[in-house]
Structures are given as structure tokens and as C-alpha cells.
């Protein structure tokens, strides 16, 4: 997946915008990756729906590291939050928010 400057600018703008939400009182979409620490279960069957998401996550995190230096844990959280905000619904999830704290 090609990440150009314009794409990354918009992505970082969304990272900043969403990080300014009133986290104490708004719904924040997020992805959680399952992990079996017991090592006893069979490998899961693949789900093509997540291939594109994985590609975009890898491309964005690589582009961010190239632009800004080593990733931080906050970068990871914000990247996943932007992807979730954009992909959960047909419209950005945050577009259904009333905005700042009331």
C-alpha cells in the first residue's frame, strides 16, 4: 500500500483530532488482537476482511516511523483508533459524536 505525504498528513491530522476527544465520556472504537498464551489451540482460519486492515496498519506505522522516528506506544494506539474510526461504519464513527465535553 502506497502512503504518500498527503495521505500521511491527513492520517496524522486525524490522530491529533481524535486524541483530543473527551475520553472520559465518549465512545472510542478500537481493535483488539486475540492472542492465545496457552499455545494449545489450533491456528485460526484466516479472515480476508482483516487483510486490508493489516496492510494499512503496517504501511502507516512504517511511514510514521520514517517521518517521525521510532514509534511510541501512543502512536500505536492512535493509529488503531484512526483505523477503527474510519472503518467501523460507513461514515467515520466520530462524525456521530457531539464533539467536545459538554
Amino acid at each position: 500500500m502506497l502512503i504518500d505525504d498527503a495521505y500521511l498528513d491527513q492520517f496524522e491530522t486525524d490522530m491529533v483530532r481524535l486524541s483530543r476527544r473527551a475520553y472520559a465520556e465518549v465512545g472510542v472504537p478500537m481493535y483488539l488482537v486475540p492472542e492465545d498464551l496457552t499455545g494449545t489451540n489450533p491456528a485460526p482460519p484466516p479472515d480476508p476482511a482483516f487483510q486490508a486492515l493489516a496492510q494499512e496498519f503496517e504501511a502507516v506505522t512504517a511511514a510514521l516511523a520514517a517521518r517521525n522516528g521510532p514509534l511510541s506506544s501512543t502512536d500505536l494506539a492512535q493509529v488503531l483508533e484512526v483505523l477503527a474510526d474510519r472503518n467501523f461504519l460507513d461514515v467515520p464513527f466520530s462524525s456521530l459524536s457531539d464533539g467536545p465535553a459538554q
Binding site: A22, Y23, A24, E25, V26, G27, V28, P29, M30, Y31, L32, V33, P34, E35, D36, L37, T38, N41, P42, A43, P44, P45, P46, D47, P48, A49, F50, Q51, L53, A54, Q55, F57, E58, T61, A65, P70, L71, S72, S73, T74, D75, L76, A77, L80, A84, F88, L89, V91, F93, L96, S97, D98, A101, Q102
Partner: protein, 232 residues
């Protein structure tokens, strides 16, 4: 504030691998849910209703045992902190649209007497917006939590006092916040609880003594910032 057992770059690679394997849970993380945002929550949950189904305890066990994800993607509304407005404002909306909420509760918050709950919240990083319950409790009550659980919503442990646990946290504090929390939550709920989430969403591997207590206490799952981990 997010701490990881490995570097962010290494974690990014692991998450990408996990996503590429084709599985991820979709969550909506809530904390306080004030009435002033009721219409916003309703619009968001209504929009999700056409796309997603609920994650039940049974579905979680199945998926985490290697079973396939259901054909209709699952959505997990997570209600952190045990605020009363989770019950009064968000829960009816979730029920209107057929979703099961996952309540992550610091067990002792519910047992703090109402006139001291705001002080407790301020001292234990329990943040909320507008206070709609002036002079009254701001935490869930046990009857409210039991009622939600009886209706099929899920209850999980979020420590006892909403305390951050570090590698140098004394043993007695770890025990109170993990083992004590589970006992208090199960006693109040009248049911067993097998899922935990550390304050600030730490994942397994960051605090080995705390992780060992999770196993010893009988927790099966750990929710963290980026992963849902099956412990045993």
C-alpha cells in the same frame, strides 16, 4: 502512559501479524456515559446495529479456543470504571439494539459509601464529566450490576481500587488488587468472573508477579490496550 513488554516497533509487527491472520475484536470503549450525550450514544449504537452482533461469553470462549468468528462481525461495547450512568444512560441503549455490554469494574468503588464516592473517584483516576447525581452515588450499585449480569451483560474485573500495578508494587497490594478484587466482585455479583483488565491496559508480560497472580486467581482472559489474551 501505555507501557508495553516490548518496543512499540516490535509490538506493531506483532499486531500486524495478528491482524493479517484475520482476526480482531472490534470494541467501543466507554467510561462515564453522561446523560447529556445520550443522543450521541444512541446514534452511534444504532449505526452499529446493522453491521455487528454481540460478543457473548460463549462466543468469546469459542473464538479464543480456535473457533471461527461468527459470520456477522462482533462488537464489544466496553463500559469501564463502574459509573452509575453506564446503567442509567448507556445500558438501555445497548439493550434497545441487542448488544451485550462488558462492564469492567473496580470492585471497591461500588462498596464505597455514596458520600465518599466522588473523593474516591478523584483519588483513584476515575474521571467523569457532568455530575448528574448531585448528593447521590455516582457508582453502580450491586443490584444494578447483578441485574445487568442477569440480563446477559458481562462483568469483568478492573482491579479493586483502580490502582496501577507496577513491577515494584508490593505483594500485598498486588494481592488486594487482583485476588481481593476478584473475591469482592464475585461476592457482590453472586457469580464468577474470569476476565481482568489492568489499569492503563497493561498487557501480559509487563509485570510477571501480577501476571502470576492473575493465573493463580483463576482469570482466563486479559483485556489490554491492543490485545485480548487467553491466559489459561
Amino acid at each position: 502512559m501505555i507501557q508495553l513488554p516490548r518496543t512499540a516497533t516490535e509490538t506493531a509487527a506483532e499486531l500486524a501479524r495478528g491482524l493479517r491472520n484475520g482476526r480482531a475484536f472490534r470494541l467501543i470503549n466507554f467510561h462515564a456515559t453522561p446523560a447529556g450525550r445520550r443522543a450521541e450514544y444512541r446514534a452511534q449504537i444504532a449505526a452499529c446495529a446493522g453491521h455487528y452482533s454481540s460478543l457473548s461469553a460463549e462466543a468469546l470462549h469459542s473464538v479464543m479456543a480456535g473457533g471461527a468468528f461468527p459470520a456477522k462481525p462482533m462488537l464489544v461495547p466496553v463500559l469501564f470504571e463502574g459509573f452509575r450512568d453506564n446503567h442509567d444512560v448507556l445500558l438501555p441503549i445497548l439493550e434497545d439494539f441487542g448488544f451485550k455490554g462488558w462492564f469492567f469494574v473496580p470492585s471497591h468503588f461500588i462498596n464505597v459509601e455514596p458520600r465518599r464516592q466522588r473523593i474516591f473517584a478523584a483519588r483513584h483516576h476515575l474521571y467523569y464529566g457532568p455530575d448528574a447525581y448531585s448528593g447521590d452515588r455516582i457508582a453502580l450499585s450491586w443490584p444494578e450490576l447483578r441485574s445487568a449480569h442477569a440480563a446477559g451483560h458481562l462483568v469483568a474485573c478492573h482491579s479493586r481500587n483502580h490502582t496501577a500495578l507496577h513491577p515494584d508494587t508490593p505483594d500485598d497490594v498486588l494481592h488486594e488488587e487482583i485476588v481481593g478484587a476478584k473475591e469482592e466482585l464475585e461476592q457482590g455479583l453472586g457469580a464468577s468472573v474470569d476476565t481482568f483488565c489492568y489499569l492503563y491496559g497493561a498487557e501480559y508480560g509487563l509485570n510477571p508477579r501480577a501476571d502470576a497472580l492473575l493465573i493463580e486467581a483463576g482469570f482466563r482472559y486479559l483485556f489490554s490496550n491492543f490485545r485480548l489474551q487467553k491466559l489459561q
